[in-house]
Structures are given as structure tokens and as C-alpha cells.
């Protein structure tokens, strides 16, 4: 299927990508998993994704840096923020930068899959 929509999962916790990948692939997405934001930024410079699922607090550029970069270079890409650091402030900040969903950890993968499917439409 050449027209499968591309989804990026970025989280410095390797287990998040490992578990989300099969779930999202079953939903029909082409999934790329990153555990370092540097590598993800480089990849974002090369290609566009339909949806990005990203953590906020990471070594190097943060999820909000990724969000800003994506909104400048590919405004059509939907960004879902997942974070263990869920405060009202981070939520407002993420939404102000154009995140379409803000999900606190621990999350249900079903919810993420549903939100990704919704955002990809």
C-alpha cells in the first residue's frame, strides 16, 4: 500500500515506541519510531508525516521544539503530545504551539490509536 499514512513516534523511553508500533501498524499506518529528538528532527527535515506522537521532556530538543519546527515546516502535520509531566501550564503551552491533543502518561494505547486515527483524517 503506497498511500499508507506515516506516523512518527518519538519518546526517549524505548518501550513506548516498541508497544505503539504494532498497534498503529494494525490501524494501517506506516510507523517510524525515534528515541532521540535529534534524529527525529533530522528525519522531519527529509519527509513529512501525517501525525507525530511525541514526549515533551527529553534530552536535547524538547517535544515543544519539535512541535514548533513541525508547525513552521509542515503545518498540516498533526501533533499529539504525550507526557508524564502533565501540568495545566505544559498543556496550555503545548496547545498554544498547535498541538492537537495532549495526553498524560500513563495512557491507554487504545486512546492513542483512536486519537492518531482521528488526527490523520
Amino acid at each position: 500500500m503506497a498511500d499508507r499514512k506515516r506516523v512518527m513516534v518519538l519518546d526517549d523511553e524505548p518501550i513506548v515506541g516498541e508497544r505503539l508500533r504494532p498497534v498503529l501498524e494494525r490501524e494501517g499506518f506506516e510507523v517510524e519510531v525515534f528515541t532521540e529528538s535529534e534524529g527525529a528532527l533530522q528525519r522531519l527535515g527529509e519527509t513529512t508525516f501525517s501525525v507525530i506522537v511525541t514526549d515533551i521532556k527529553m534530552k536535547g530538543p524538547s517535544g515543544l521544539d519539535i512541535l514548533r519546527f513541525v508547525k513552521e515546516t509542515a503545518p498540516g502535520t498533526a501533533v499529539i503530545v504525550i507526557t508524564g509531566y502533565a501540568t495545566i501550564e505544559t498543556r496550555h503551552e503545548a496547545e498554544a504551539h498547535g498541538a492537537c491533543h495532549f495526553v498524560a502518561k500513563p495512557f491507554k494505547m487504545k486512546d492513542i490509536a483512536r486519537l492518531v486515527a482521528k488526527a490523520a483524517r
Partner: protein
């Protein structure tokens, strides 16, 4: 002689060890027992005996001069006058020693107490008198001060923990999330998974649970009021365990952490948790001084009788007008609600309680270095 030297002399005179282990309750009880064990020769008694002797000598002089029959300028009354003068001089010198000696010693005590050394006063003479009563009153005050100091240290520690909590909550959410989604995978896909895949998922859950447990343990270890027992402590281990508590903060602030320790660092004498608090405060301050990221370096050296550490950051530095005040209690440059101003004051008091010293040097725009020195644990001092 400087006040410090006098203070040091007074401390030596009192027979207390140069490197004080942190205060313990029984220290005070022992000091009290020792002070009370001396025979009491009060100043009042000595004064009475002295005056009585003077009276006797005066009476003898009067009697001799009149009984000589040749007026007060006879030969033997002159000798007695000389004896009287010598006796007066001896009595004055003795009183000077009885009063001025202890007063000077007490001046030394106040000096060391003001520097945060709350060790009790122990006997320095074979008898006791009114100054002993004063020493016991001062010891009672010191016991109170030491106990209040412990409360302040504990309060400051909990404040520090408070600032760490949000970071730790984040850190805890990660293993929790990993456990939750791995369990979800198992529940959803159980019939489809091979035994090896199931095993891998269960292993993930197992290790993530351990990881969450470690995070909680590191926080509890730090907040626990441990029994105050001083023991030989490896400062390299203290620095490393403090770094572990702070790893999340370091990562988020983009601060790299480096240590330069010699292969074998001799142990110092002290308590692990208060020492962790020393480094926690220094590292947290360093992180706050580097909002754009930077580097913390801890370099240790063993010098004769001491272990010295430099904690260096590449932060904004401390303005020279602020530098002399940073160890003052309640002094803070942080905005209201961000800092209590107790961090460095408590840090300094912990270091001093371990018989150590802390100083600071800073250059605006380049960074700040805290220099710490701790005396070695007994038994390794010769190394």
C-alpha cells in the same frame, strides 16, 4: 592572637576532638556528668579564704609594729610589710587567673558556637566553680540549639525534596506508563503472542516495576531521618547517589555531569544523608544557575588529613556584592516562593558539623566553584 586562634585553643584546651562528629545527645549527658564529677571549690569560698588571709597578715603587721615599741618603722615590721605586699600580689594574680582565664575561654566558646560548632563544653580544670554552672547553662542552650538546628536542616531538606517532586513524578510516570502499555499489549494480544514474546513483555514489566521502586526508594532514602550515627563515608559514593536523584533534573536542564576522583579516595567521618543534602543543594543551585544548560564538575583530591572537593559549574556566576552573603540564613536571590534562602546556610552548617570547611569563588558569566574540605575518618589520618 586572632579570635579564631583563641577559639581553636579553647577548643583544644577543652580536650574535644578537632574533627567533631555530628552532635549526639549522649555527648551532652557525658559532658554534664564530667562537669559535675569535679570537686566544687567556689570562687566565693576562695574569696573568703583570701580575705581572711589578708586580715590575718594585716593583724600580724599591726601587732608586730606596736609590740616592737619603736613605731611602725621597726626592722621586723618592714619584713612583714614586704610579706604582706607579696601576699597581696599572689592573691591578685590568683584571682586574675580564676576570673580572666575562664572569661577568655568562654569568649573562645562563643566564637566557635557562632560558627555553628555546637559541641558541649567539657571540663578543662580539676575542680568546679561558678563558671562550671555557667558552662552547664551554656551546654543546655547548645543542646536546644542543636535540636533546633536539626529541625531546620530537616525542613530545608523537605523543601529541597518539594522542588524535586515534580521532576520525580515525571520520572515515575515513565515506568508506570511502560508497565501500563505492556500490560495492555499482553491483554489484547495474548492468544497471538509466542511464549518468547510473552516472556519479553513480562520481563519489561518486571524491570519497569523495579525501576519505579528504585525511584521511590531514592527519594525515601533521602527524606528518611536516619539514626544519627557517624561512620566512615565514601564521598565518591555520596556524590554518585546524589547524581542519581538528580539525573532527571540534569537531563531536562541539559546539564552534563562530570566527576574527577582519584582511584582511591580515603573515607571521611560523617553521616551519609546530611552529606547527600550538601551536594544536592550545591548541584540544584548549579542547575538553576544554568538555565541554558552547561556543565557541573566535581573534582576530589586527598590532601594530608583531608579530602577536598571542588564543585564547579559553568553558570551565570554570583555578583561580588552578593557573594559574602550567600551563606546567610534566609538570604535568597530567587523570586518569592522559589527558594527559602536556607539551602546554603544549611549546607554550611552540615559541613562545619563534620569538622569541614566550605568556601566559594565565582566569576560573573563564567561560573561558580564551591570548595569543600572534610577531615578524614579516624584511623586513616596517617595516609
Amino acid at each position: 592572637m586572632s579570635r579564631q586562634e583563641r577559639a581553636a585553643m579553647a577548643a583544644d584546651e577543652s580536650g574535644a576532638p578537632a574533627a567533631a562528629p555530628p552532635h549526639q545527645g549522649h555527648e551532652f549527658a557525658e559532658a554534664r556528668r564530667a562537669l559535675l564529677a569535679r570537686p566544687r571549690i567556689s570562687i566565693r569560698l576562695r574569696l573568703a579564704v583570701g580575705l581572711f588571709l589578708c586580715f590575718l597578715l594585716c593583724a600580724a603587721y599591726a601587732w608586730t609594729s606596736f609590740s616592737a615599741g619603736s613605731g611602725p618603722v621597726g626592722g621586723s615590721p618592714m619584713l612583714l610589710l614586704l610579706v604582706l605586699l607579696v601576699a597581696f600580689t599572689v592573691i591578685i594574680v590568683l584571682f586574675d587567673r580564676a576570673l580572666m582565664g575562664p572569661i577568655r575561654r568562654f569568649a573562645g566558646y562563643t566564637q566557635r558556637i557562632s560558627q555553628g560548632d555546637f559541641r558541649p563544653i567539657v571540663p578543662s580544670r580539676w575542680y568546679r566553680d561558678e563558671f562550671t554552672d555557667l558552662a552547664m547553662a551554656v551546654n543546655q542552650m547548645l543542646e536546644e540549639l542543636a535540636s533546633q538546628q536539626r529541625h531546620i536542616v530537616q525542613a530545608a531538606k523537605l523543601t529541597t525534596v518539594g522542588t524535586l517532586t515534580s521532576g520525580i513524578a515525571h520520572e515515575l510516570n515513565n515506568p508506570l506508563n511502560n508497565i501500563a502499555i505492556t500490560t495492555e499489549t499482553l491483554m489484547e494480544d495474548l492468544p497471538r503472542l509466542s511464549d518468547a514474546e510473552k516472556w519479553k513483555l513480562l520481563e519489561d514489566i518486571y524491570f519497569e516495576t523495579e525501576r519505579a521502586g528504585e525511584i521511590v526508594k531514592s527519594l525515601l532514602d533521602f527524606t528518611r531521618e536516619e539514626r544519627r550515627e557517624s561512620a566512615p563515608v565514601d564521598l565518591a559514593e555520596v556524590v554518585e547517589s546524589t547524581r542519581r536523584i538528580l539525573q532527571n533534573e540534569l537531563d531536562l536542564a541539559n546539564v552534563s555531569f562530570r566527576t574527577r576522583f582519584p582511584a582511591r579516595l580515603p573515607p571521611v567521618r560523617g553521616e551519609r544523608n546530611p552529606l547527600r543534602q550538601v551536594f544536592l543543594n550545591l548541584f540544584l543551585n548549579a542547575i538553576h544557575a544554568m538555565p541554558e544548560g552547561g556543565e557541573i564538575e566535581v573534582a576530589a583530591t586527598a590532601v594530608p588529613g583531608m579530602v577536598c572537593l571542588d564543585v564547579r559549574d559553568t553558570g551565570s556566576g554570583i555578583p561580588p556584592e552578593v557573594l559574602p552573603r550567600i551563606f546567610d540564613p534566609f538570604f535568597t536571590t530567587k523570586e518569592p516562593g522559589r527558594g527559602t534562602g536556607l539551602g546554603l546556610s544549611v549546607t554550611q552548617s552540615i559541613v562545619r558539623k563534620h569538622g569541614g570547611e566550605i568556601s566559594v569563588s565565582s566569576e560573573l558569566g563564567k561560573g561558580t566553584t564551591f570548595h569543600l574540605c572534610f577531615p578524614l575518618a579516624a584511623g586513616v589520618a596517617g595516609e
